[in-house]
């Protein structure tokens, strides 16, 4: 007897008053203000050798509860150890009836039982033949009660809680008569039957009912466990999910969605240790209560190795479909439709205010190329290559963003201040270029400049620039294909963005096949210069849209600073254009201009409203209320 033990005994005074062994199927009640507890067996006379059912029987004062195997945020489940004299009680195993949830102040939660609870216990009894073999204790009892018997002693520690918690320890003892013929005790066996019926059934043993789980780890900031039960009816508010303690993950409050024959729980998870990689599979044990099947109330339990999915499937699952639900044919049909959409979307992007000037500019340059058809072919091929190449780069970027847990998808580019600012700066550079204030490697429609006319490199660069400029336009048409692509992984992302690139470069591909088409344009001249300057206004106007998009993610001060930086960029470009060609000055101004562009990016990033690892408010709320 250690000091700690003595201390605890002193703490719960009643524990010292261990009730004397009672003869029959139940021990005396051990009572305190909050609860009483006794040990019961199913037999008035137990068989000498064989299985025996017992129970730890609690009744609780209103408001007080005892715990399930996972007690929740606080508390601990009952601990029981058996000893016996006059025979051996072996392999005692305690079972856990379907629990309920108790909400505590501060968002804490407990799992357990209130009112009345019996923890069923399965054990094996072995009493040696013949009274001569048993100890004196038994002989005493025999004298007292007649017949053979075994004394069963249970040392029980349990915690009973309301909001306050009180631990108790009792020694519960009963003298179980044994004989050749077993006689059930009507009261206790009925009690044990009813609580045995409340044990969750192993999932595989309920015909027609299936359960499964998946950990969504695509977004490390939004880890989630999805548990499904199919083939049973349930009502929201009645069905609940209980998880056993996981060694590496904290589990939050489950959210439940009920359909005709399926229940879906989504449980926010949080790593207990930062920076620890989750394995490909991890064991979860779950109990689902409050299901009904053929009019009968059932609970099920399962313990499985659960797959950890890295795919970003963190959103709402589609109704009725399993996580990997789409079958081959339906999947192919969907993919084909989405590829067509991506192609069409890409083609439409050519009409966007920052892309159209590039397209027209390229057409005019190609029209004016004195090299004839081969030159047109070569130029068009270069632009198309540039576009497709940059689309591939975008696919890689989207995949990288997804892996880093950043939002990825069509429209995500404008949610990231740094990227949105980059697109904005590109639009400003294009505008200045179209107005003739800058000579960036973007195409010029001025055929008088011999440098403009030749060089596939210029065309290639124009193609490479096309994609980032197109990114500023969040065509709703493209949302589904790109979202689907990112969800399905790198291969599909590459395919869908290739389709988008094909659509975007379609005008050039037409020229590649039929260079003569370019002749429908009149020869470049004054009209093309006017067109170019006019297009500058179109591109300039698009900066308004981009600034507006940026304003959702950058503070008002940040927006003002970015605008100032852009204005200074224009001023520097104008100064550079106006200065007599003195190389040193021009170079200095060019450096200042690049610095200014960089400053605009930095200002956008520095004044961002949301941290880079963007989490949704919804996800936060879940993790917090759970526990």
């Amino acid at each position: 007897m250690s000091t700690s033990r003595a201390a605890l005994l002193a703490l719960s005074l009643t524990a010292l008053l261990a009730p004397p062994p009672a003869r029959g199927a139940a021990s005396e009640w051990a009572e305190n203000e909050q609860s009483r507890v006794r040990l019961v067996t199913e037999y008035a006379t137990a068989p000498r050798n064989g299985p025996i059912r017992l129970g730890l029987h609690f009744t609780l004062s209103p408001g007080w509860h005892v715990y399930w195997k996972n007690s929740g945020d606080a508390g601990f489940p009952p601990v029981i150890t058996f000893s016996s004299t006059g025979g051996a009680l072996q392999k005692a195993e305690l079972f856990w009836p379907a629990p309920r949830r108790f909400e505590l102040p501060g968002g804490l939660v407990a799992f357990g039982y209130e009112g009345e609870a019996v923890y069923p216990i399965q054990a094996k009894l072995q009493v040696p033949e013949g009274a001569g073999a048993v100890e004196t204790v038994t002989s005493d009892l025999e004298r007292a009660g007649g017949g053979e018997s075994v004394e069963i002693t249970a040392e029980v520690d349990y915690l009973v809680c309301e909001v306050d918690c009180i631990p108790y320890r009792y020694t519960l003892a009963l003298t179980q008569p044994v004989g050749e013929e077993a006689v059930a005790d009507p009261e206790t066996s009925r009690l044990l039957d009813s609580w045995w019926a409340r044990l969750p059934k192993p999932a595989g043993e309920i015909p027609g009912v299936q359960t499964g789980a998946l950990v969504h780890a695509g977004n490390p900031e939004k880890l989630e466990l999805e548990v499904r039960v199919r083939g049973a009816r349930a009502k929201k508010g009645e069905t609940d999910l209980f998880l056993e303690t996981h060694e590496a993950l904290e589990t939050g409050k489950p959210q439940v969605r009920v359909t005709a024959d399926e229940v879906v729980f989504r449980v926010p998870l949080r790593a207990k240790q930062a920076g620890k990689e989750l394995p490909a599979k991890t064991v979860f044990a779950w109990t689902v209560t409050g299901l009904s099947r053929e009019g009968e109330l059932v609970s099920l339990e399962a313990r499985r190795e659960v797959e950890v999915s890295r795919k970003p499937g963190g959103g709402e699952p589609s109704a009725g479909a399993a996580p990997a639900g789409e079958t081959g044919a339906a999947y192919r049909a969907r993919l084909f439709r989405l590829l067509l959409l991506a192609l069409l979307g890409g083609l439409l992007l050519n009409l966007m205010p920052t892309v159209l000037p590039l397209l027209l500019g390229e057409l005019v340059v190609l029209r004016g190329d004195p090299g004839g058809r081969p030159a047109v072919r070569e130029g068009a091929a270069a632009v198309a290559t540039g576009i497709l190449g940059s689309c591939m780069a975008m696919a890689a970027l989207a995949e990288a963003a997804r892996r880093a847990g950043l939002p990825a998808g069509w429209g995500a580019q404008l949610q990231e201040p740094l990227l949105a600012a980059l697109i904005l700066v590109a639009a400003v550079v294009l505008t200045l270029n179209l107005w003739g204030l800058l000579d960036t490697p973007l195409p010029s429609t001025d055929p008088a400049d011999p440098a403009e006319r030749r060089g596939s490199v210029r065309h290639l660069l124009a193609g490479l620039f096309t994609t980032p400029l197109a990114l500023g336009w969040t065509l709703p048409l493209l949302r589904e294909p790109v979202g689907f692509a990112v969800e399905k992984g790198p291969a599909v992302t590459l395919t869908v963005l290739a389709a988008l690139g094909l659509g975007l470069s379609l005008p050039y591909l037409v020229l590649l096949l039929a260079p003569a088409v370019v002749r429908v344009l009149p020869a470049p001249g004054r009209w093309s210069r006017v067109l170019r300057e006019g297009m500058g206004f179109l591109a300039g106007a698009s900066t308004f849209w981009l600034l507006y998009a940026l304003s959702h993610h950058v503070s008002p001060e940040g927006i003002a600073w970015v605008e100032l930086a852009l204005l200074v960029m224009a001023l520097l470009a104008w100064l550079r254009h106006r200065t007599v060609p003195r190389n040193a000055v021009r170079f200095g101004l060019a450096v200042a201009l690049v610095a200014c562009a960089a400053a605009a990016l930095w200002l956008a990033d520095d004044n961002r409203l949301t941290p880079r690892t963007s989490r949704t408010a919804d996800n936060q709320r879940n993790i917090l209320t759970g526990g």
Partner: protein, 198 residues
């Protein structure tokens, strides 16, 4: 529609701004800073102990588990044994809860049980929530770099069945590991005890 979008963004930003104060206590992350008044009336700030190993113990004298460990001197012996570290008790009991103790009562309890380390009031529960502290006792070890190195129970014996020497004291193990320049193992366990009376 556009107003809608911007409103959503602002809300998301607000939720994110509020988030760090709520979801934490994760091993490996920076321990949330705090400044709290002790039962002795002095102000304690985590920042004062930069470069030292700090143990945080969520405590509530009216909780039988805190009280048992105080009487058994589980915490005070361990704090005394590791003179190089800082041990702070934090009581996050809501001032309106029956378990709340006035400074004089709290000091009397500490004196009676030989608790000589500082105990701090967190009656708003803000610090408790920042660490996601759930029970009394709920233990944290903060390493010299200010990162949470251990989060969980004091030992492996919730009912207090075993002799003190037979229990696996996770905080003692963790402090030993910190001294040897290693990471505590286990670094996270399930805390037991009374729920904190937030």
């Amino acid at each position: 529609m556009r107003k809608w979008i911007s409103a959503t963004c602002v809300l998301a930003a607000l939720a994110l701004a509020a988030a760090p104060a709520l979801a934490a206590g994760t091993v490996g992350e920076t321990a949330p800073a705090f400044q709290l008044k002790g039962i002795d009336g002095k102000t304690y700030s985590l920042a004062d102990y930069k470069g030292k190993v700090v143990v945080l113990e969520w405590v509530n004298p009216n909780c039988p588990f805190s009280d048992r460990h105080a009487r058994e001197k589980t915490m005070s012996d361990l704090a005394r044994k590791h003179g190089e570290i800082v041990w702070l008790g934090i009581n996050s009991t809501n001032a309106s809860h029956a378990n709340y103790l006035q400074p004089a009562e709290h000091q009397a309890w500490a004196k009676k049980n030989g608790v000589s380390y500082a105990i701090l009031y967190d009656e708003t529960g803000k610090v408790g929530k920042a660490y996601d502290a759930k029970t009394t006792p709920h233990m944290f070890i903060i390493d010299k770099d200010g990162k949470i190195a251990y989060n969980g129970a004091i030992d492996d014996d919730p009912p207090g069945r075993k002799a003190k020497a037979e229990r696996a004291n996770y905080v003692a193990q963790g402090l030993g590991a910190e001294k040897a320049g290693k990471n505590p193992d286990p670094a996270a366990t399930k805390p037991y005890g009374c729920s904190i009376k937030y």
